[in-house]
Symmetry: C2
Subunit: 430 residues, 2 copies
């Protein structure tokens, strides 16, 4: 077989991940050529600011300030979209697909919001979108769900898929830091961005959950049907109570097939048993527990962000593209059902209240729960702290979220309850 010409890559974006892709492709180029039987080379790199000083010296003419330079260059086989954001990336990817180019992207927000249209367009134009790097950085969860578990009905996917929040929760739990202290520490270490909103409010995890759910169940889950809560309102007292009860608090993305035809997708801080392997996923690490009807329980663990881990996934996408060896893209099918409304979703709950240190409080709380038909598994009351009232933790029996939410809203209105109650699910992992 005559040697094919090297695959020509156009790299859009030279931030953290873009730089990693450039460097690591160069570093392991010979190994990749041996393994793939085909060479790859970066033909052009588009940057936002051409004048910015850079650590690497690029060959003459490689850098450009125009995304159009990638689209218009017929020699470029693949564009790698690492510019982030939505609008500009959507326009760029749409036009690249329109020109028949293969697309590799790490943009989870783009796919969560516009995946349905982009994959349909790629199908129509006979090209491919690869996106291993869009979910969980260096963990090959996309290929695993698309290929390795292809013979499985996916029963559930439960993931710790935001490293920033996991770092914060780990530090709060292990060092007794407050949320603010842990966030500040994450910022200093470069684990949290200047604006960490999407990381701590669950939005980033929800983008990834939409992608995993859609791949698993063969139809795009609308982003606005995902129930999302972040970790901003958790106190270190919650992590301590959880630990004393034998649990660890994690921000979980939960995707579950309920009764064979309803799909539940939600992101929430949740309690899991401290003895479960997911509970030992600490710091910025990610892990994803996938349960299939054939394979049973599997878990995939690694770094969910960062220059090198994410570029490892981008490079594996490039290799798949170079060798045309991947059942990628999105295959719609209608074998599963509709999203389950969050209000219908059943689990146990952890409820923390800060209450006035006066008689009759417990009776009022228990009365509301009792009238709602929500059973109480256990209750812990601690002595009042300074000025904040006494913390009470009530562990609730299995109940529908809608019922619990309404009862908790009623409890929050009680004059003896200070602060907004903290409600977390106890996630069943078996």
């Amino acid at each position: 077989m005559a040697e094919e010409r090297p695959l020509q890559i156009g790299l859009a974006g030279l931030g953290n991940v873009g730089l990693g892709v450039y460097r690591n492709l160069a570093r392991n180029r010979e190994l990749l050529r041996e393994r793939n039987g085909r060479d790859m080379e970066i033909r052009r790199v588009v940057v936002r600011d051409l004048a910015k000083p850079r650590e690497i010296t690029f060959p003459e003419g490689m850098l450009s300030g125009r995304l159009d330079d990638l689209i218009e260059d017929d020699e470029i086989d693949i564009v790698v979209e690492l510019i982030g954001g939505i609008d500009e990336a959507l326009d760029f990817v749409t036009r690249a697909i329109g020109k028949g180019k293969t697309v590799v992207t790490a943009n989870k927000a783009l796919l969560a919001l516009h995946g349905k249209d982009l994959f349909a367009l790629a199908e129509e134009r006979g090209t491919m979108i690869y996106f291993e790097a869009a979910v969980a950085g260096g963990i090959p969860i996309i290929k695993t769900v698309q290929e390795s578990l292809v013979g499985n009905n996916i029963q559930s996917i439960i993931g710790i898929i935001n490293g920033t929040s996991n770092y914060i929760l780990t530090r709060m739990a292990k060092e007794g830091l407050s949320y603010e202290e842990a966030l500040e520490e994450a910022r200093k270490l470069g684990y949290a961005e200047a604006d960490p909103s999407l990381d701590v409010n669950g939005g980033d995890a929800a983008h990834k959950a939409v992608i995993l759910a859609s791949l698993s169940y063969g139809s795009w889950v609308p982003f606005d049907q995902v129930h999302v809560e972040g970790i901003e309102r958790l106190g270190k007292v919650d992590l301590q109570f959880a630990r004393d009860l034998g649990y660890t608090v994690k921000l979980l993305a939960v995707i579950k097939l309920i009764d064979g035809d309803r799909i539940e997708v939600r992101v929430q801080p949740s309690l899991i048993p401290s003895t479960h392997i997911l509970a030992s996923v600490n710091g910025v690490f990610n892990a994803i527990l996938v349960r299939g009807d054939v394979v049973g329980e599997t878990l995939f663990y690694g770094r969910g962000a960062g220059q090198d881990p994410t570029s490892s996934s981008v490079i594996s996408d490039l290799a798949d593209a170079a060798t045309a060896s991947c059942r990628c893209g999105f295959v719609p099918h209608g074998l599963y059902g509709k999203p389950l409304p969050q209000e219908e979703s059943v689990s146990q709950y952890y409820l923390r209240l800060q209450v006035a240190d006066q008689p009759g409080v417990l009776a009022q709380v228990a009365g509301i729960l009792g009238r709602a038909g929500v059973g109480i598994l256990s209750m812990i009351q601690r002595e009042a702290g300074e000025g904040e009232g006494a913390p009470i933790v009530v562990m609730l029996h299995d109940a529908k979220y809608g019922v619990v939410r309404r009862a908790v809203a009623e409890i929050a209105e009680l004059p003896c309850v200070h602060h907004e109650p903290v409600l977390m699910r106890v996630e069943r992992l078996d």
Copy 2:
């Protein structure tokens, strides 16, 4: 696009895994067709004993007692080799490849011993061998190493890849069972075969290690160059000492790139820190820690054996074959170096001796180690039990295995030392 005819499968072997493949393919056939865009069907099943009563009723004419019926049938695209063993499987696979058929196999021993020749033959005949099920059951570690981590120099692979021994070690550690009691329990639960030798003596894990090492480093590691020790000689006292020292004992398959050009492959019971995520892999579960120069640390966890998990991997191979979408097979290259002789391999060690309860014993032991240049990190002596002498555990500094082995052989000759000493590595996981 006109619908292709269903991929025609010939199944050789209807033991535990074969039955799982047959059942699960039937169960999820529609889902597989939707996802793959191509249907698959089992055309013929070869069994050892046609007269044996079976749980499933097969269509008229599907069962056969002759492997040749699969080879000679030109309609069969893929043969799935699940007969196990070496000689008959080698003959069957060789002839199937000779006829240009695609092969799917779960036979780790066959590949560890004959992989080099089989892959060369497949290359020559323009066909493929798929073998996801040969290593770690339902965990997609083959595809991960071949495809997802393709952009990485593999720095190390450390795996718990024999479920039987992990079950035994878990029960010894958690319940204080003796080796014999735990093995008996494993037998009763169906986790150990009537003859468990290959599981407990490390042979099975070594077969898998050869496959992983060869894939990672692009040249076949000769099986006889793998250092293999099993768990048969461990006492529950070893698991207790390890725990008291902050370690957990696991049968580890270790593959490491040393100094950039030597490859170390060994299977041994080893001590790992109890806080490490690998230490929480219990019972029959498998886990594989892979470190790549780009991706960093990743871990893959799941059931390493059993009808359903293993058939999940066989089915993913069939789907890859159906859609011709896999960079499978073995790609030889010469970018890495030669096997590291075990004698040169450096680590810390755990050494347990049963010694006579008399003065001067420690001085003799310490003297031998000192003359060999092996430093002592710490030492624990317990009171003598009944008739067995007193156990002493010595933790040794980093040293070459050859040096330590010779010193321990000398210690074993001391009149005050009863029983063969137990020597285990302390595995560095960072």
